[in-house]
């Protein structure tokens, strides 16, 4: 099957194949990139799944449009996509604030989840609440570093800042999270003694 033949190909190779008119490459890229970006966008948007889907679809559409003119070696596809998603989310958060809506939004109760214990659900939810209270750039940096697993140099490229600035953002973000979540020790099952 054609999909199997492409399994080992890099994201960039698949994008070039798509740019040469190969629709199978787009299927594989979608399955590789969209779930990751959806998780990232959902966290940045305070758990708003529907809006996160809009953002990721828009970002992927931009990727398809870029395919033919994609300059090899200039940026990694995933890095480029994270940057687009991050910028789109920041724009939407800004718009929310200007129209006076709740920044955090309400996380959806019926979202599909791989969480198999209530403790995990509570912790993930508490973390999301705390992330929502962080400044935008700290939230982006902490999410990329500690949830998406990106390295500091990668985050620097995504956010277009220095590695030192990334380190500063993640350190401040983590301190704020630690302080915020400390108040919920008991309800989250930590020993108070």
């Amino acid at each position: 099957m054609a999909l199997d033949a492409y399994e080992g190909a890099s994201d960039e190779a698949l994008l070039v194949l798509y740019g040469n008119g190969d629709p199978v490459a787009a299927q594989l890229l979608t399955h590789r990139l969209a779930p990751r970006e959806l998780g990232f966008a959902t966290r940045l948007l305070g758990g708003d799944r529907a809006e996160a889907e809009d953002v990721v679809q828009e970002a992927m559409l931009r990727l398809w449009k870029q395919a033919e003119s994609w300059r090899s070696g200039e940026a990694q596809v995933s890095t480029w996509l994270y940057r687009v998603v991050s910028n789109l989310c920041t724009d939407r958060l800004r718009k929310r604030r200007t129209v006076g809506l709740d920044v955090a939004g309400d996380p959806e109760d019926d979202r599909p989840s791989a969480v198999d214990s209530m403790m995990d659900v509570d912790r993930a939810s508490a973390l999301q609440d705390a992330l929502n209270r962080l400044p935008d750039r700290q939230r982006v940096a902490v999410t990329l570093r500690h949830i998406e697993g990106a390295t500091n140099p990668e985050i620097a490229k995504i956010m277009d800042i220095s590695v030192e600035a990334v380190e500063s953002l993640t350190a401040r973000g983590k301190r704020a999270l630690a302080k915020d979540l400390a108040g919920r020790r008991k309800e989250l099952g930590y020993d108070e003694t």
Binding site: Y18, P23, W64, D116, R123, A124, K174
Partner: protein
């Protein structure tokens, strides 16, 4: 024994939250993935069909592409016209225009070209006058 700082979590505690968040990653629905792939289909570059859109060349087109297209044909035409003009134009005409100086000796009667009167009309006039007197 020191009492743990209750005002902050340490890195290990925080990591539990991050792990929970990683496990809590939203799973994309089939409808969402299908919508993205539908976009990909509409934006699919039409590279493979381009050769089929090429028109069949006629004999003039074949010649043109063989010599390098219209620019090359224009250069060739200019060179041809220049060659014909050079071939048909008699050197004597050039001789006339230059007053017999340029091609003297090769194509015309050189004796006539270098008569002093040709170069100095004033002298010619004087000689005529002198003849009249004589």
């Amino acid at each position: 024994m020191t009492k743990p700082d209750k005002t902050q979590l340490d890195d290990d505690d925080l990591e539990l939250f991050f792990e929970a968040a990683r496990r809590d990653a939203p799973k994309p629905s089939e409808a969402f993935l299908s919508a993205i792939m539908a976009d990909a289909q509409t934006q699919l570059p039409n590279v493979q069909t381009k050769p089929a859109t090429l028109q069949k060349q006629g004999w003039l087109g074949s010649i043109l592409s063989a010599i390098g297209g219209w620019p090359a044909a224009a250069g060739l035409a200019t060179a041809t016209v220049a060659g014909v003009w050079i071939g048909f134009t008699q050197p004597v005409q050039l001789e006339t225009l230059s007053g017999g100086l340029v091609l003297a000796g090769d194509y015309v009667i050189s004796d006539a070209s270098y008569v002093l009167e040709d170069l100095t009309p004033g002298y010619l006039g004087t000689s005529i006058f002198a003849e009249d007197e004589g």
